[in-house]
């Protein structure tokens, strides 16, 4: 009884499935577009490390799905936390790459030192991991809940 959370199980079952599906889609994109970048609406996929990202997302999705029974049991919750950390690493690096690429003005002569339009570079499209990041933060609620219950 104490180890069960319907909300946790359902939420991370759906979320894990989405993560897994996005990982598979990234693999398909790699298979069709190679290492080129593909944009569909607000979603951007592909690029040089798409294969690695796809593997990480597929594994994170599977780890989420393996944690949904007895979700509040510490062993199961631990798996979801690890899967979430994997999402945070990939999403964090996508954000970091965007920040690092937005500030310099360019290496050519005559260009400004800092990019005057740097704010514009933060608009969509975004990589799937960035959309997954806020949704994965729900795990912090369960970690905090466990801490208060203990």
């Amino acid at each position: 009884m104490g180890n069960r959370s319907t909300f946790g199980s359902v939420y991370f079952a759906i979320f894990g499935f989405i993560v897994l599906a996005l990982g598979i889609i990234e693999l398909v994109v790699m298979g069709t577009a190679g290492l080129g970048v593909v944009c569909r609406g607000p979603l951007q996929m592909g690029g040089m490390f798409v294969g690695w990202r796809a593997i990480i997302l597929i594994c994170a999705g599977l780890i989420y799905l393996s944690s949904i029974t007895n979700f509040l049991d510490v062993r199961q919750l631990g798996k979801s936390v690890v899967a979430s950390i994997m999402i945070w690493i990939v999403a964090g690096m996508a954000i970091w790459a965007r920040i690092a690429g937005s500030i310099p003005g360019g290496p050519e002569a005559g260009t400004p030192w800092f990019n005057p339009d740097f704010l514009a570079t933060y608009g969509p499209p975004y990589m799937p991991e960035i959309y997954l990041l806020p949704l994965s933060l729900v795990i912090l609620y369960f970690v905090a809940r466990r801490r208060t219950e203990r």
Binding site: M48, I56, G78, I85, A100, E108
Partner: protein
Amino acid sequence: MELTVEQRWDLVDRIAKETIEIGEYEPTLRDVIADVTVKPLTGIPFAIAVIYGLWMFFSGFAGFFTDGFFVKIFDVHFLPWIQSVFPGKGTWLYYIFVGDPAAETCFESFGVLTSGLFLPIGVVLPAIVAFYLVFAFLEDVGYLPRLAVLVDGLLHKIGLHGYAIIPTILSLGCNVPGVTACRSLETRKQRFMMITLLGVFIPCAAQIGMMEGLIPHLIGWVFLALAIGYFAVGFILNKVWPGESPEILMDVPPYQKPTWRNIGRKMGTRTSHFLMEAVPFFLLGCLIVAVLYLTGAMDWLGNALAPVLTGVFGVPEETVAPLVAGFLRKDLAIGLLGGIELTTWQMFTSVVLLCIYFPCLATVALMLKEEKWKEFLATMLVLVVTVFVFGGLLNLIGMGLGTA
């Protein structure tokens, strides 16, 4: 009184029985995370994510400083300035210190004050800082011993154990501390094998930084080629080199919050150590290359080595200059490749060859200190054989693919 092994274990059992109380233990979330990240099924994907994070941080950080600012500072401002103010254009002194007066980038100029300063400060320094920052973080959090446990089975196949991953990762920063860390390995055989594998197959962060700037799209293939070599040569060495490879028990500490002061201090010490050691070698390397060009020795060397370079490895004879510079610093050598016209396959082969053909001078000096003469000569023999086998194979593959 001397105890046999059985008596000692009996004694351990008796002490344990009297002192340890066995009850129910509810693991904490931290315990479970520690456990999940060490089990192969979940630990390997997590390790892939960590290495992906390390790499993306590294390339983003190095790209931000090198492409974002240092290239501009050196190529747009510093190079034209020094080309105009340095006296005696056309003299040998000008050629040594400023390099080619027609050069438009510091990569191409080959001068002591141009390439010699741009490569260590503009290209290598950001890469080194980024690598040591992440390495110190992983060390402080307690992740590295878990990585050691994960790769233990794999490394056992080549006669090493999981902790051999620590010198390997350390060498990805700089080979010198990596070779020093081999002291922690149990037997002379393991130390010899590890030092040889590090010296031949593990590129340092400076080299990786250069590769990142020069061939970002091929870097994965370079690492794949080096990894294949690492395990193949390790496997052979384990079979032919006499000695023991004992089992060990690994102590895996719990995860802990990182101390930023520790991380900053470790990163600062390692970076300053690297700079003190590398910058003089970079300057000396550029000086030697410039002198060899001026005296015509480089052309002579190019002609003498041409049959090997073009015949066996399939690269043009101009690559002799980076090869010479590589005796001092391999990162400098890779940087110098940027000034030579090469096809993609030739660039790939040249980078792999430069990675494996000779460790930098500082690493060789340390190898001489850490290894016996017989071991050192064996390391050099492995190196020569590997260069010819690898270089020849890559050329054959390139010819087979029609890209050489």
